[in-house]
Symmetry: C2
């Protein structure tokens, strides 16, 4: 196998593109794909302030690295979830993130759920009677948005890759959650109370991101979150992997075909679902309920009223 | 485990309904599900003439049996595809079908591709450079429709079960074939040149149909069609089986959720795709092309012009 770009011996094959690359050209390929996603979906412009939601995993650290190399002014935001014993999952994730930021001389903002909000995901989700992935997801969405507004960032970017988006899409399609389908977009423009959100890795798969990090010498937490074991999302990924194995390119055709030919059909449901947004009386975030989901979670997780005002935040 | 209906010991579990049945009540359950599909989608009325497309497999023979027991005036149509050696797949399928018709004293119409049209699926698909499943599918659709019109039947019914429909839906969704999505319905009303088509087994799964035939003593061809090995459809079934195993009810939620909340969005594409239908100059069937797909296949498979007029047909 020869590299598609330089014809040197290739070390990496990307079957859905029917292409192979040497290490250097693979890094070029990843930058190109991210650049193309940013351009095609008009995600951000040079000079804008970008906040990267980083978890310490291959996708978010790889994304941060790619954006810095593409010349974007990208700071990181790490959210401490309090998962695992001291020295366990969350602590390790934080260490990988901090090491990357130090190495690149990049700015890292940290929000720590236990310190700043008085609960961690395992206890909080149990107290609020929510599955951990649900409590975690809503906390992340809320706190990333909050931090971006507070820090006057133009856009929050997350490390969702093609495998993630295809699996979420499969889950939404299997249940025909039409309101979620209508907003499953790689770019959500800013709206009242919501900062712009973008997913610049939608053109890159999970394996490509792992390979990118290895080539670039980025250490990341390899372990999956211990609380995610057995969740449906992982089952959808496996199902799609089997289909991709049979027919390379299936995931990309599924996700991009959806964007090209289907998502517009579900926009009305998504818009209707978000009608009647109003500020949460506790934190001011837009919500369709009495209190926003995050403040409800905090209240139930801590069994005491939520203090109004911005949480304490630590800068590197 | 006790039977949901009569509380006798159950022999069969239907996990997606969280129910178990004794043999008699299971047969009752199957009739009820078929009756409900017929009613909910207004598929046919008592007294109408029904043509059942039978292959000799569990689904079509089970369906024919169910419709006869529900009091419908249901004749069978068997299409000889010429697959396998003499005494092989097609011949065995024909024997099972004939045995069933004899046993029930039902009317069976037979159309034989090699005898009546001068080609079989293996040679014909090769000559026409089509995958066998494609050549077979289009031949079936054409000839079932033709026979129903010629015999003045009110409706053609096929044995597509929930697993089939969910797998087809997954395939259509993975590629976002929006024009196919818009017409993936359990009932297609009659239109100019097209007889009404219905799928009364959409509420029953593959395993249920196999169990139904075993309980009812219906012998059927167990072997899968040898030409279908490795086709995508089977991969989609496996993927859905894995998801169903994790979360029983997924297939039903996927298919019926589609009918409830999504198919209407894709109707315009389906209608547009069928715009400009006109009679095939050779056989008169509606087509959007110069010649209909079946006549093109016949022409290429036999390398000679197709004779106009109804094919020879044999009645039991």
């Amino acid at each position: 196998m020869r590299c598609r770009r330089c014809r040197q011996p290739a070390v990496l094959e990307v079957r859905r593109h029917n292409a192979a690359f040497c290490p250097d050209c693979f890094v070029h390929h990843c930058r190109e794909q991210v650049g193309r996603a940013i351009h095609d979906f008009d995600m951000m412009s040079p000079g804008e302030r970008v906040l990267v939601a980083v978890s310490g995993g291959k996708d978010s650290l790889g994304l941060w690295d790619l954006l810095l190399d593409l010349g974007y002014q990208a700071d990181g935001l790490y959210l401490g979830l309090g998962i695992g014993e001291p020295g366990g999952y969350s602590d390790q994730s934080a260490s990988y993130t901090r090491a990357f930021a130090d190495h690149r001389g990049a700015t890292l903002i940290t929000v720590d759920l236990p310190t700043d909000y008085g609960f961690d995901i395992p206890d909080g989700s149990a107290a609020a009677k929510r599955v951990p992935c649900s409590a975690c997801g809503l906390s992340k969405r809320h706190l990333f948005n909050r931090a971006a507004l507070d820090g006057a960032y133009d856009v929050v970017v997350t490390g969702h890759n093609l495998d993630d988006e295809a699996a979420v899409l499969l889950g939404n399609v299997l249940r025909w959650h039409t309101e979620y389908l209508g907003r499953q977009l790689p770019l959500l423009p800013a709206a009242d109370g919501f900062v712009r959100k973008a997913k610049p890795l939608v053109r890159l798969g999970e394996r490509e991101m792992a390979a990118y990090c290895v080539i670039r010498g980025i250490d990341y937490i390899v372990e999956e979150c211990p609380m995610a074991a057995g969740n449906r999302h992982l089952g959808y990924k496996e199902a799609l992997n089997d289909i991709e194995e049979q027919s390379p390119g299936s995931k990309q055709a599924f996700y991009f075909g959806f964007l090209d030919r289907a998502v517009a059909h579900f926009r009305p449901e998504a818009v209707e679902d978000q009608a009647g947004l109003r500020p949460c009386p506790t934190c001011g975030s837009p919500t369709t309920s009495e209190t926003c989901a995050f403040c409800s979670l905090v209240r139930r997780a801590t069994s005491e009223p939520v203090a109004v005002g911005a949480p304490r935040r630590r800068r590197r």
